[in-house]
Amino acid sequence: MSGAPTVTQDAVRALEAFIQRSAGHGAALAETGLPTRRVEAWRYTPLRTLADTAWHQAAPLASEAVSTFLDRLPLPENGARMVYGNGRLLEGLSALPEVATQGSENISPLKGMFSATLNAALGEKGLDLRIPAGTDAGLLTLISLSDGDNVSMHLQHRIVLEDGASLTLYDVNAGEGRYIANPRFDIVVGKGAKLRHVKLQRESLTGTHLAIVSANVSEKGEYDSFTLNQGSNLARHEAVVTLGAPHAIVHVNGVQIVDGQRLNDLTSMIHHAAPDGSSRQTVKTVLSDAGQGVFQGKILVDRVAQKTDGYQMNQALLLSEKAQINSKPELEIYADDVKCSHGATVGALDDEQLFYLRSRGVPEAQARDILVRAFLIDALDLVADEALRDLLGRSMAS
């Protein structure tokens, strides 16, 4: 048998610290523990490196650090901005979109999912906003900064779009040090409402990012997300999206660019729980050095979800001998009148294409660059907001 690691004494150290910090909210965490490779959902993304540390709460972020971060991040000029530093709102830098009102609901629980369980035990108050029916809240940039060693942040965001409301959320994550950023998004998209969730993950290259998003989409509502996973030593972006009423539309797209010895993971569950839903997913991963990429994407179609239209494509490009990709696209289908498909490819740059470019005088390095960009372009093109697309494109190029 493969040597699946068991929970070690070290793992207990990390867990104990979390549970102690949770002030009585750690029962579920104690029960599930730190997942090992034996846990199917984490087979490709081991959390071993987190196990030996007693992660504590971070000190407030110094204002000089904040401005350094803000200067080097690709940020839009316009729109509202909410800035969090080490799990706390930086009020002087933050304002909600004018039309938004403060919500007052609790984060809904997500059982059996480690990132959510950890967040629930240690939650820190994040966004809690409600966009009133029929209003367009425009662009909101949410900036989550982390700085410090052996600390962890667990922001909880709840976003409710009432019927017909719309919002573009630009979700930027960055930091410095060896920390865990563990944000949770609880999203409700009302009837005919539309949320664009564009995420940039550029955490510290020694940091860990464990994000978990749940989104429930109502009739004719739309949740359109794109995640650029580019930072962290270990990062998982996990999305659980439910098409809870007829004619909902969901996009869970992403690009992962992984080098060094890092691991980036995009895991999603798209749950068609009502008829006539449509979901689209394109995820592209580029791996160099000894980078590891993980894609796990499940489409679940309930018996009632007739006329579901689901499509998923994931592709990985391996640029070096030591890079590796683990991919698990999954269909679980209980309704018969559906059209669901997925495709996956793994490979290196096409020698023929490379040769063609070089025969036209393009130096090899530049030719490779052109082809990598071409590989990513159709995923990036799925970001509907042009300004944000440009910002992400800039981030990808750097």
Binding site: E321, A323, E330, I333
Partner: protein, 493 residues
Amino acid sequence: MPAVTETRETVEKLAKSSYEWGFETDIEMDIAPKGLNEDTVRLISQRKGEPQWMLDWRLKAFRAWLEMEEPTWAHIHYPPIDYQDAHYFAQPKKKPGPKSLEEVDPELLRTYAKLGIPLHEQALLAGVEGAEERLPIAVDAVFDSVSVATTFRKTLAEAGVIFCPISDAIREHPELVQKYLGTVVPVADNFFGALNSAVFTDGSFVYIPEGVRCPMELSTYFRINARNTGQFERTLIIAEDRATVSYLEGCTAPQRDENQLHAAVVELIAMEDASIKYSTVQNWYPGDDEGRGGIYNFVTKRGICRGARSKISWTQVETGSAITWKYPSCVLAGEGSVGEFYSVAVTNNHQQADTGTKMIHLAPNTRSTIIAKTISAGKSDSTYRGLVRMQPKARNARNFTQCDSLLIGDQCGAHTVPYIESRNMTARVEHEATTSKISEDELFYCRSRGLSEEDAVGLIVNGFCREVLKELPMEFAVEAQKLLQISLEGSVG
């Protein structure tokens, strides 16, 4: 009469609405008491007249099994199996001189007739002169846990091919069995494999020497007959350098209420430039319309392409069993070796199938192809589960996978769970999967041309499976097409 025609006739007899082969044969049985412990293992080994090394091997497997847990990751649900509430050895009582065909129990021959084993083969079993030359297929018939008679040994022996019950091979070719048994599926490989290693009672052994193209298709008919007797078949096929063999496995089972456990292990070994084609039509009793009864089929099938440019090809048509848990796999260790998996899995009523393959690419320039067609009807659930792994040395390796699922009715489920792992940048993996319902337009078109709804479904389903069915040897292709249609009866309208 050619065997193909007879097979077709056999199959046509099948084309009745209920499962016909649910009879029991009244033969005196020699049955070991219920239960599983070291003594059971010793008893089996002793009754088989096995040497000490074989008993030791079994005991090692049994001890490993005791430490293992029954796997739960598959998408199947069944009541807990009580491994102590079953007989692990049942043998038809034989008169002395079992090798003499005249002494084969006439009741047994009548069973073959009912099973539809082609007349030539029965004639051969009955000792008819000259029957041998006319037959294209050699049969190693397994009646319950013991191979009662093996045919064609002479013709095959002239070619240097060994084809015999594995229990004979253990006695007569111990050096070969010892060298290869458990090298592809080690005793502690998995829960059901370990159980098989401890208590297997029979199965086939095939050895094709260097440079030999096996002169005929080799075939085994399986049949479970005794009440509450698990079947633990063990098959080992070795093709030496440049050897070629095609092996057919087919099975039927009698109707009954109790669930029956079947945990077979098949190991294939292909040396340089060798080729093994292994085809299965699996039609164990699936249980009744309400999901009562039916076989639990937990199978470990694995082949290793050890030599350069060797090839292993699995083709399966799975229509039977209440539960199918089966992943015929290829380990591509020889440079330029080829693995193939062609599968049709049909589930109806309350059947559950979790089946697929693993293609492990270890060497450069290895190639694999996976074509899996899943059809779910009634209240059944069917899962394709597959792994494609490109190891660091698999330079320029290639895989292509196509998984298609067809749903008939809104009470069934179809699932696709592929794992793709690549550790070599020059390796290329392509995977495609689709799920859809059977097309109303196509159904209507067929029916407007006069086909009954069931015939139309049969036609469309056979079209859907064409890529796989064409991989089957002729003898099986006809049978398989019929079986598909029979399995889906009552699923529409």
